[in-house]
Assembly symmetry: C2
Homo-oligomer: 151 residues x 2
């Protein structure tokens, strides 16, 4: 029995790694920061598509979204962060911790479209950027509908 | 005279572009989000350097810092955002708007080290990552000392 407990502790420690040292309120704040910064960048790609198109700005915005999407934010959904306050009270729904498969699919769909957005932005093709922004925004909305509580 | 006014209005409109449509409180929130997300990533590079070194995690963190550093956050320091509340009350010092040359140098130094951090992370060399993290953190601290009010 003792050995089992020790092994479980080691496994938990390895799985948690550096993330385990983060305070719950900080983890929530970091999550909200990542989504908040992506919101700015989605918003400015939209502004470029609807107004004067500045390829360089779209590339910068798309690269930021891509890097944040691929940064491994999943590790910020630590045990004990289902409720709590970062910059504001967390709106994470309980389903994040209970519907892992559905969440995984949503995260993969978002990452795919974020990676594609960066590729499309680099081409500087307005129509393609517009179309890809629609696909990307669709994955944001879908995940928010399922996993983020409304204000 | 009328022509001058018209030209000035056009110039202001072009300079502002998409950024001009952002509400001051949103601009402050987006800035705080960018810095908040970078803080997480600097923190986890530090944790990797001091504990178990996971090259992939360091690469993800360094790429996020790099993309945010190069995203053009300067455009979020709009007129009217010298005071105000985003996620929290802005701690931007007035010097951001009065000491442009010094600020520009600080921003360029930070970008340089953030770009270098991403390169160094890709090598997976622990000692080099440790050294580069020191240089990067130095540019963060220096800019905070000059341009960010203490809590």
């Amino acid at each position: 029995m003792k050995q089992h407990v020790a092994l479980a502790l080691i496994a938990a420690s390895l799985a948690g790694g550096a993330a385990a040292q983060i305070k719950p309120e900080d983890a929530i704040k970091f999550r909200q920061s990542g989504y908040g910064f992506m919101a700015w960048n989605v918003q400015r790609i939209k502004a470029n598509v609807e107004g004067k198109f500045d390829k360089e700005e779209v590339v910068k915005a798309a690269n930021a979204i891509q890097a944040i999407a691929n940064s491994g934010m999943g590790s910020l959904y630590l045990p004990g962060t289902d409720k709590g306050t970062g910059w504001e009270a967390s709106r994470a729904k309980p389903e994040i911790w209970t519907e892992k498969e559905k969440l995984g699919k949503a995260a993969m769909a978002f990452n795919k479209e974020a990676n594609e957005m960066a590729k499309v932005a680099a081409t500087g093709n307005l129509d393609a950027v517009k179309e890809q922004l629609g696909k990307l925004s669709g994955t944001c909305k879908s995940c928010h509908d399922d996993f983020k509580a409304k204000k």
